[in-house]
């Protein structure tokens, strides 16, 4: 009874506070003639997005979608790179090699203990000093053309849906080859050599699918001072990506190290007793088991990377937060815009944690 009274009291206080704040907001909005609805999404935005085809006559809705895509570009690439780099550094941290171990340790101890925002600013400044001005653009053949404004790379041209088809086809081919090699290995006892088979077949399927669906390709070309063709990764994108990958990989490295150390010693000794090579021991015995331990903390780092991608706004990379800031500075109402921004981040976080939890459920040891 007392417990219920306490609960009702707490909830009443919370509701009252929220009520009070919302009431204030409505009063202020009415007094200052602010819009409270989401109708502004269909108005012309009034601001262009730099380095994109977005013009100021397009709707706010489209601007936000462009920002959303940029956030995805940053977060997805960042997650992939940070995972690979972090895992390698985490393993290097445990190497028996004195030099490697300490280089990895120095990297982790330095990068982990400085603010991400400082890293973002520093990597922008590094990119601005390392890359040449437009008149001395590096022309590295048809694949990459690079100067201080950005780096243009070879890319597909045409329908996004067609590209998705190609990616899915390659993915299915690789999965099928992996499955087949595993079956062969199980049946005959010969080594599976999955990578050796899957990579050429996957590449072949990609090329064939590319041609079959009629997808074009575009390569960057240097035309005097201008770069045409290809897809341009702007300096701010590269700077944000570099900083996010460096920062997150140092955190992932520590998780990987911890989860490798948490695998019972007997597993490594058993692998040694079977005369597995160092790579086999790590790849087939230790890493799969440490994945199980490290997956949830690494998933948290993915969430952090997604949220930290909002810092790219500080160097004006037009991702979601920056676009919202631009919109609010132009004519969009602040409260609905920011509420929408929070909801989008919340939804993206939920999707990532859903994926991580699904994978976790698959990896978990099923006990009786």
């Amino acid at each position: 009874m007392l417990a219920w009274a306490f609960q009702v009291a707490v909830v009443t206080v919370v509701v009252a506070v929220v009520w009070y704040l919302v009431g204030n907001y409505q009063e202020n909005a009415a007094a200052k003639n602010l819009t409270t609805g989401f109708g502004f999404l269909d108005q012309p935005s009034g601001f262009p997005i730099p380095d994109s085809t977005f013009r100021q006559t397009q709707r706010v809705r489209d601007a936000l979608f462009e920002g959303f895509l940029n956030t995805l570009r940053l977060a997805v690439t960042g997650i992939l790179l940070a995972t690979v780099l972090g895992t390698l550094i985490g393993i290097a941290r445990l190497s028996t090699n004195f030099v490697l171990r300490n280089v990895a340790r120095a990297y982790v101890e330095i990068v982990r203990n400085v603010p991400l925002l400082a890293l973002v600013l520093l990597s922008l400044s590094i990119i601005q000093t390392v890359f040449p001005p437009p008149q001395d653009t590096w022309d590295l053949g048809p694949l990459t053309v690079s100067n201080v404004r950005g780096t243009s790379i070879f890319w597909y041209e045409g329908d996004n849906g067609k590209f998705l088809v190609v990616v899915v086809a390659a993915f299915i081919a690789i999965a099928a080859v992996a499955r087949w090699r595993r079956a062969v290995a199980d049946r005959t006892g010969h080594p599976a050599r999955t990578a050796l088979w899957a990579l050429p077949i996957g590449a072949a399927v990609t090329v064939v699918a590319w041609i079959v669906v009629g997808l074009g390709a575009t390569a960057p070309e240097l035309d005097g001072r201008r770069v045409t063709g290809g897809i341009t990764l702007t300096a701010s994108y590269l700077a944000a990506l570099l900083a996010l990958v460096a920062y997150t990989s140092s955190h992932i490295a520590e998780i990987v190290r911890g989860s490798i150390q948490a695998v019972p010693k007997g597993q490594g000794e058993a692998a040694d007793a079977l005369a597995l090579s160092g790579f086999q021991r790590m790849w087939n015995v230790i890493l799969p088991q440490s994945m199980r331990i490290g997956l949830l903390p690494i998933g948290n780092q993915y969430l952090n990377l997604l949220k930290n991608s909002s810092l790219a706004a500080v160097i004006t990379f037009p991702e979601l937060t920056q676009v919202t800031k631009l919109a609010v500075a132009t004519r969009a109402p602040a409260v609905p815009s920011f509420v929408l921004l929070l909801l989008i981040y919340l939804a993206m976080s939920l999707v990532i944690s859903l994926i991580v939890n699904l994978v976790n459920r698959r990896l978990r040891i099923v006990e009786r």
């Binding site: 030099v99 991400l116 909002s310």
Partner: protein, 420 residues
């Protein structure tokens, strides 16, 4: 092969020479195999190159004049020159308190007969040497700062701080045995008192430099911890409404970026307050946003600690007839919190680094924004000095974070986490 041949015992192998000495160390750690040798050479080249470039940057190519000239701006922002003694007094007071608390803790430990695996045995200079070895990043940072000062004030401050720390350490053991609670009260009162004392010349909103970062972090840490604790208990509560509220809060705040929350506090908060009231100061808004955000993470960490505790502990406490509150405060929380010290301190380190976001979103003149500002100063503008300014900022943050993390590892060893 006959059976006798198989049965024949092979002659004992000649005893290998005992492995020791530098040659053997090199063989084992650097050139264990061919691949190992290649890795050593490549990693060694990377390391040598990085160290070479680093040293060259520090001693030859870096133009550190910008830091030297603006050192005061980096440290305390626009704090008036005539009032700098207040900062010396505040730092000495903090050192005095930390020294006293440390001395008191050592005394209590001895009195209750607990062993300390990290204790240093030997004469007093051994203790001093061990402390110096422990705090080397901090000492390095202070040494770099002192190498750049032009007046005697900072030197006197450092001496006063060291003296206050030593005095406190020597006085601490003479406190009465039950003054732990009093020390906590003194810490809270002292914190508030110091803020009032320091804001006499200029208001908190006008503070700047690393002083602002430390202030934001200290305020954030001391507020987010109790809030996080309450939320963790709420999430584990048997009362459905309380649990539901806590879960909603935690998941909401963990799902959004801090930078966006800070922007929200900057742009939107005034609209939610009555138009008649004065707008809360930017520093206050920053502290509230940081606190709300970090409390959600603290709650999850504490919940992990609570879950790691065997049920038997609670049951034993109940069997002894302890009330629920006493069970929580005396039995459950001390053990649960001890288990999560590393994650908690990790979160506080994040909070310290996140104070830079607060300043960026709110336009406060913190350490990082000072570096932005000085690069645009007349005399330094357009010379590409961003690298130097940022390096200095990162050094200061690095010193703070690495010291916190090393001290937390030591505390962990001291409390014997994972060994009992």
């Amino acid at each position: 092969m006959t059976i006798t041949e198989i049965m024949a015992v092979p002659p004992p192998e000649p005893e290998r020479p005992k492995a020791s000495g530098p040659g053997d160390w090199v063989r084992r750690n650097l050139f264990h195999s061919v691949g190992d040798g290649v890795i050593t050479v490549i990693a060694g080249l990377i390391a040598v190159y990085a160290i070479y470039r680093g040293l060259r940057y520090v001693f030859v190519t870096g133009r550190w004049e910008i830091v030297r000239v603006n050192l005061k701006l980096f440290m305390v922002g626009r704090y008036p020159n005539d009032e700098m003694w207040r900062i010396s007094v505040a730092l000495s007071a903090i050192a005095l308190f930390i020294g006293t608390a440390a001395g008191f803790a050592v005394m209590r430990r001895r009195a209750t007969g607990r062993t300390d695996p990290t204790a240093v045995l030997g004469p007093w200079w051994r203790h001093l040497l061990a402390t110096a070895a422990r705090l080397w990043p901090l000492i390095l940072g202070v040494a770099i700062l002192l190498s750049m000062v032009t007046s005697s004030g900072p030197w006197l401050t450092v001496l006063a701080v060291i003296a206050a720390g030593i005095v406190g350490r020597l006085l601490g053991p003479f406190l009465p045995g039950r003054s732990g609670g009093v020390l906590i009260l003194v810490a809270i009162a002292g914190f508030v008192g110091l803020i009032l004392f320091l804001r006499v010349p200029i208001d908190v909103t006008d503070w700047g430099g690393v002083m602002l970062n430390i202030f934001l972090a200290a305020a954030g840490i001391s507020l987010c911890f109790p809030l996080g604790l309450l939320l963790a208990l709420g999430r584990r509560s048997k009362l459905p409404l309380i649990r539901w509220l806590s879960v909603t809060y935690i998941e909401l705040f963990r799902g959004v970026p801090l930078y966006v929350l800070l922007l929200l506090a900057y742009f939107v908060v005034p609209l939610f307050l009555p138009s008649s009231s004065a707008n809360p100061s930017l520093v206050l808004r920053a502290i509230v946003a940081i606190t709300f955000f970090t409390a959600a993470y603290v709650a999850e960490i504490v919940r992990g600690g609570l879950q790691s505790l065997p049920r038997g502990q609670t049951e034993a406490a109940q069997a002894l007839g302890l009330s629920p509150v006493k069970t929580m405060v005396l039995i459950v929380l001390p053990q649960a919190l001890r288990n999560v010290i590393p994650s908690l301190v990790g979160q506080f380190i994040s909070l310290f680094k996140d104070t830079t976001l607060a300043a960026a979103a709110m336009g406060l003149l913190d350490l990082l924004r000072v570096s932005d500002a000085v690069v645009a100063q007349t005399g330094f503008a357009g010379q590409g000095l961003t690298g130097e300014a940022l390096t200095f900022v990162m050094l200061l943050f690095w010193v703070g974070c690495i010291t916190m993390s090393r001290e937390s590892q030591r505390l962990e060893r001291k409390l014997g986490v994972g060994t009992r």
